[in-house]
Amino acid sequence: MKCEVCRELLEEYLDGELEPQEREQLDAHLIACADCSESFAVLMAEQEIFTRYDREVEVPPFLWTRVAAHTVSERGAPKRSWLAPSLTGAIAVLLLAIAIGVFYKLSRYKAPDLTVATTPSTTASPNPVRESVPSAVPKIRKSRPRVKPVTAPPTADQSDVLSSELAYLDMDEQDTAKHIEQSKMLLRSIKNVQISETDDEIDVTYDKALSRRLLSENVVLRRDAEMKAKFPTKTLLADLEPFLIDIANLPDRARPQDVREIKERVKKTEIVAALLDYQDRGANNR
């Protein structure tokens, strides 16, 4: 064996990846060649240094507790099916289709236009409700046109949404459909907000809290979609996420220009249309 060949193979030799015949040839060459033997000794020394590398990283005792909380404690066992996976998937798709159909049917019997403003005690008007306040104090919009999302109210404290336990809830297709619907309502609400030149602040407390909850759900659903190779769903949720983040990060009383920016972006990117399209296409195309 020539020295050049030997040196080319030295790393594989060290890694134990050579075929037996090559290994034997290299063994013989290393015995006979001092230069190559020295090169190999250097490689060995280098390997020894890396072997002694101590990252000082330990598995913290609480980690199993956290993992268990989202796995064995949550469900007892992974969803191993008594049904074949493909049949399970088909049933899930069917259920989603039924859920969307029922929702669509019900929505047609509700208010004729979900985007039109409704306020609790007044009839809707084109120029929505705004409280009269003395001109000396900043104007804060207390209420504004908002679609009532089909959702439970947000929980009290959502300041930690990004690390919330919600992040690992086991969600299925129906949850995705519900999530898309609620997100669509939220974004429509933002898209339809009337911002006047005289507004100093806009009260977005409700939207912000809702957005935080939806953001948390979105992260889980997006990962879930990715895991299950539902790429259109994953892409849509990935597109949705920046909007939820921006709304979630607004102060309770947001500056009009900040709200306007989000509003314009919702319009420009046609994210609402994308959400609608996703719903319209139905479960069979996903």
Partner: protein, 188 residues
């Protein structure tokens, strides 16, 4: 029996203890690998958690011929890559190819023995972080975790040719950084 294959079967049958055994057996190599990739202890903990949660959810999809450690490292690799991408997008990525790493190559005197271990660990950590992602992954799996080429190919999805090339280049880059500690001015 507590072979990996048995543990997987038991987890699929709903045995929570079996999953705990899998965690106990593999959490340390997984967190080490992730730490090598992301160079952040807190992030490594979080991503290790994510890895095992994903593994639990998908364990029934694992093929019988797949080695559990390879499969777990594959998930860990995906989780780490996603995190690195997200950090890069958020511009929070810290470039660890810093001057102190470069300064330690070639001409610097070898530190005294007492400081060697800590400094060397720190140097290796920073030098790893300075490698590009593919090289870092291959180097970590081969040199620090002693995976075979076949396992690395299964974990990373790289061809044998690519992983050999990346590994050779990674070794060369790491060699430059640690050569003062090896005590020899060498070429391989």
């Amino acid at each position: 029996m507590n072979t990996s294959a048995d543990l997987v079967t038991r987890v699929c049958q709903g045995d929570a203890d079996a999953f705990r055994l899998i965690f106990e057996r593999y959490s340390r190599p997984v967190i080490s690998f992730i730490y090598d990739m992301v160079n952040d202890r807190a992030v490594a903990e979080e991503l290790t958690q994510e890895t095992f949660v994903r593994a639990f959810r998908a364990i029934h999809t694992m093929r019988a011929e797949t080695k559990l450690s390879t499969w777990l490292f594959g998930i860990a690799r995906n989780v780490a890559r996603e995190s690195l991408r997200a950090r890069a997008r958020a511009n929070t990525h810290v470039d660890l190819a810093d001057k102190s790493v470069m300064d330690l190559s070639d001409d610097k005197p070898v530190p005294v023995e007492g400081l060697l271990s800590k400094e060397l660990n720190d140097l290796i950590r920073r030098s790893l972080a300075a490698l590009d992602e593919d090289k870092r992954m291959v180097f970590t799996l081969k040199v620090l975790h002693q995976c075979s080429y076949e396992e690395i190919a299964a974990i990373t999805g790289f061809s044998l040719a690519k992983l050999k090339t990346d590994l050779h280049r990674a070794r060369a880059e790491m060699r430059k950084k640690i050569s003062p500690y090896a005590g020899v001015g060498y070429e391989v």
